[in-house]
């Protein structure tokens, strides 16, 4: 799992590549929490290269979302692959997270 961070204006764009599973999710968690702690409010996660997600990954997203919402921040997800979307649907996350097709 690889992450690349980019800042476009006030928005932090985080592109996640690879797998978000029980062994890799904590990396994302650390990065997001650190950015939030640092004061970032607006996040866009680019999932165009995300191949796999399990409940561990979902847990991290949920956590981040909750925190940002409390801090009046915003978290959006972009370019979900089909199977990722399927998982989101099953988990009922599709309604929790704004989903976009592209980072724009």
């Amino acid at each position: 799992m690889e992450m690349t961070k980019e800042k476009r204006g006030p928005i932090v764009i985080l592109a996640v590549k690879g797998r978000l599973d029980a062994s890799t999710s904590n990396k994302l968690e650390e990065s997001l929490l650190a950015s939030i702690e640092a004061g970032e409010k607006q996040f866009a996660l680019d999932f165009s290269r995300l191949d796999y997600i399990s409940s561990a990954g979902l847990r991290v997203l949920l956590l981040a979302m909750k925190k940002l919402t409390n801090a009046e921040g915003k978290l959006v997800l972009c370019s979900l692959q089909e199977q990722i979307k399927e998982v989101f649907d099953i988990a009922g996350f599709s309604s929790l997270f704004p989903l976009f097709t592209s980072p724009e």
Partner: protein
């Protein structure tokens, strides 16, 4: 003889002796010769002068003698009594004229006087001869008692001649010597005319004592032992010796030499009236130094001579002396020469001997030469040189031995190094899904290239190739360490990039030498042909497709290992179809140089690989290696040429039986295992040629189950094994999870309410929910202290060939 021995031993000695002899003897000879010649000449002159002096003296002596005789006869002829008697002497012999008594007295008186005269002198006879030639008186006949009338001139020719001359010339006359065979005596006369008042009245004659004459002539003083003087006279055809020669005392008047004879030149010459001197042969046939001349008064030739033997005896002595001196000198010279030669040559011979020994290999030899001269110095320097040479050779020997030791150890190290690489080909003969070959062509020095491979399990083949920086022992040690570590890590970790990362950390940790290594490695999933690989700065291998195209693998990035601890590595995958090949190599191939400095290069390698399409890995490698060698012919190989080639044949028979055989994998109760789970699932799906969508569902489901077990199944910290079995039958994928943790039935977990708003949502139970939703069936049972969960999913009927 020791001289010859010495000469044989040493050329120098011989030369010295020869030159010594030449130098000593040549001048000596010349000097002696010159001296002896001049001495000879001087002596000859002296002797000759001496001879002449003697001759003069003899002549003088003889002439003086005869002059004295003349004076005597003259005196006698002038005695008045004699002349008176002769005047008055009657024809009657013994009687003088006049009266009887006077006459008688006068006769008696004269006779007595003449007798007295003869007795007191050396004359043989005194004779009075009448003018007619009658002998009037002879002392000898008187004494003999002969009558004077018996005497006549006819009895003695010489007397007659002397009488004649005296009468005719009215002066003294000396006769020749005549020889009387009866008496065997010779006689000579001297006569003088008697004058009375101017009238010739007769001749008085004296018979000379030949003995006295001989005495005068035979004065050999100054003539040594062989020298002589004698008189000789010519008698028509002969030369007759008048006086007895020294060597023939009886030869007077008897010894004769024919006048034309070539012998007795001096005698002949003298007798012939000539004067001369020189070295000739005498009447005896011996060589003599002679002087001769003619004495007119005597009518004889006189010869004074001395044997040259005697005359030149001093010279002969001188010559002999020179000879003796010469020979003695010769001996001395030879000995001196030998001595000097010995003192010079001996050290040289000795030195030569020592040198030969040394040349033969014995460097411990020292020359012991006591000479104080330059040869001694030479010997000393020689010894020093030898000692130093010996030292140098010993040092060299030690150094060479040390070097050889090192080289042999290097060779051993090299052999060990090579021996740790797998060398048996084909390495997996029972596996028909692939063929593998690898070679390493070592450069002269031990190098740092390596290759490695092993079957991680039945379905996974790990292969690697690497190149340590540098050459020599450090590189080879680093290579050995790297290879060993790499293999160990590859046995433990499954992701290629993680393997490299860990290896990198290890290498960086204690890397003081600053060495690094480039590595390419990958794991081939044999059933599917999928290769997952990672690279650390190494040149990417070529994929050789079955259609003949050659292209390098995509570079996942990643730098050489051992440089920096935080280096990151990535993995990439490539799917090999049946018939595809992979060619791994080190830069020893592409950077091989020809004699002009050109590199073999990737371009050429690609060419060779293209042309090797369809060949086995072994053949392909052989082609590449021989091409490189041909290219670089003439230059020394500077780097190892390492290659590994693998051809993937694929699982040619899709055996239903093997397909349906379950894949059982053990996982540890460690969240890091989740990653491997993903791989296992993916491989299973691929190898069973199932739709790729299945991978996701199965993976998530199993991950959730496994995570639960890992997180909640155990109360202790012990390592536990969790078994997951995947199988595929009758259109269904079956995953079984078996663990020995706490009894836990995931089906009893309440489903979360997915409709709750964000703030109310929690993650709990979400995982199981996903699993249940993604899979078609879940069944749980507890059996023999183990949780057994079975998940099933139907295989969709419609699937695309590639699955992606």
């Amino acid at each position: 003889m020791f001289i010859a021995e010495h000469l044989r031993k040493s050329k120098i000695a011989t030369q010295l002796v020869v030159w010594f002899l030449l130098i000593a003897l040549l001048p000596l000879t010349i000097v002696s010769y010159v001296l002896s010649q001049s001495s000879e000449n001087a002596l000859t002159k002296v002797i000759t002068d001496n001879l002449f002096a003697i001759t003069e003296r003899q002549v003088h002596q003889i002439e003086e003698y005869f002059r004295e005789k003349e004076r005597e006869v003259l005196t006698l002829s002038r005695i008045p009594a004699v002349s008176t008697v002769m005047e008055h002497w009657d024809q009657a012999p013994g009687k003088s004229k006049g009266n009887g008594a006077e006459r008688a007295t006068m006769d008696e008186g004269i006779s007595a006087f003449l007798q007295f005269y003869q007795e007191t002198s050396r004359y043989e006879d005194v004779l009075l001869i009448s003018p007619e030639g009658t002998i009037l008186f002879s002392v000898k006949s008187r004494a003999d008692g002969d009558a004077t009338s018996q005497l006549s001139l006819t009895r003695s020719a010489e007397l007659a001649r002397a009488f004649d001359r005296a009468k005719t010339l009215l002066g003294t006359a000396i006769s020749d010597f005549e020889y009387n065979p009866e008496t065997q005596e010779s006689a000579a006369f001297i006569a003088a005319p008697v004058l009375k008042e101017g009238n010739f009245v007769g001749v008085v004659a004296l018979q000379m004592s030949t003995r006295e004459v001989y005495e005068v002539v035979n004065d050999y003083t100054g003539l040594g032992a062989t020298g002589e003087t004698f008189l000789a006279t010519r008698k028509v055809t002969e030369v007759v010796f008048t006086t007895p020669p020294r060597h023939d005392p009886q030869g007077a008047m008897r010894r004769k030499i024919p006048i034309e004879d070539n012998a007795a030149t001096p005698t002949q010459e003298a007798a012939r009236g000539r004067k001369g001197s020189g070295i000739t042969v005498d009447y005896r046939g011996k060589e003599v130094l002679a002087a001769w001349q003619y004495l007119a008064t005597l009518g004889n030739g006189m010869v004074v001579k001395i044997d040259t033997d005697e005359a030149f005896a001093p010279i002969a002595r001188l010559k002999a002396l020179s000879g003796v001196i010469g020979v003695t000198t010769l001996f001395f010279v030879v000995f001196a020469a030998l001595f000097v030669a010995r003192s010079i040559a001996d050290p040289i011979v000795k030195l030569t001997g020592v040198t030969e020994l040394i040349a033969g290999g014995d460097l411990t030899q020292q020359a012991t030469i006591a000479a104080k001269n330059e040869i001694g110095l030479l010997a000393t320097s020689f010894n020093t040189m030898t000692r130093q040479l010996n030292e140098s050779i010993n040092n060299l020997r030690e150094t060479t031995a040390a070097k050889e030791r090192i080289e042999s150890e290097l060779k051993i190290a090299h052999d060990i190094q090579l021996s740790i690489l797998p060398k048996i080909f084909p390495p997996f003969p029972t596996r028909s899904e692939f063929a593998l070959h690898a070679t390493i062509e070592s450069a002269r020095e031990v190098g740092g290239d390596f290759y490695d491979f092993f079957l991680i399990d039945d379905n996974h083949l790990w292969l690697a190739i690497g190149d340590v920086s540098g050459k020599g022992v450090p590189a080879s040690l680093f290579m050995a360490a790297t290879k060993t570590l790499l293999r160990a890590i590859a046995g433990r970790i499954s992701q290629p990039e993680a393997i490299l990362a860990e290896l990198n950390n290890e290498l960086c940790r204690d890397n003081d030498s600053g060495m690094f290594v480039t590595i390419f490695h990958g794991i081939l999933h044999i059933p599917s042909g999928k290769l997952e690989y990672s690279n650390g700065g190494h040149n990417l291998p070529y994929v050789l497709s079955q259609h003949g195209t050659v292209a390098p693998l995509e570079n996942p990035g990643g730098m050489a290992l051992g440089v920096i601890e935080s280096a990151t590595y990535r993995a990439k995958t490539v799917r090999l179809r049946a018939g595809d090949g992979l060619f791994l190599y080190t830069d020893g191939v592409t950077e091989a140089m020809d004699s002009a400095g050109n590199l073999f290069s990737e371009r050429r390698l690609q060419g060779v690989l293209q042309r090797a399409n369809g060949l086995s890995p072994a053949e392909t490698i052989q082609n590449v290696v021989s091409e490189v060698k041909r290219f670089a012919a003439g230059t020394e190989q500077s780097d190892d040429i390492t290659t590994l080639a693998i051809t993937y044949r694929g699982t040619n028979t899709t055996d239903e039986a093997t397909m349906s055989e379950p894949t059982s994998v053990l996982f540890k109760n460690n969240l890091a295992e989740i990653e491997r789970l993903g791989q296992v699932v993916a491989e299973f799906v691929e190898s069973h040629q199932l739709p790729a969508g299945l991978t996701f569902a199965v993976n998530v489901a199993l991950e959730e189950i496994l995570t639960n077990i890992i997180s909640y199944g155990y109360t202790d910290n012990k390592e536990q094994d969790i078994l997951i079995r995947l199988s595929c039958t009758e259109g269904e994928v079956i995953a079984e999870v078996e663990d020995n943790g706490r009894p836990f039935n995931p089906l009893e977990v309440a489903e979360p309410d997915t409709s709750k708003p964000l703030e109310d949502r929690s993650v709990g139970g979400l995982g199981i929910h996903l699993a249940r939703k993604l899979m078609d069936e879940l069944a749980y049972r507890r059996q023999e202290g183990k949780n057994l969960l079975v998940l099933k999913k139907r295989i969709p009927a419609v699937s695309s060939p590639d699955g992606r």
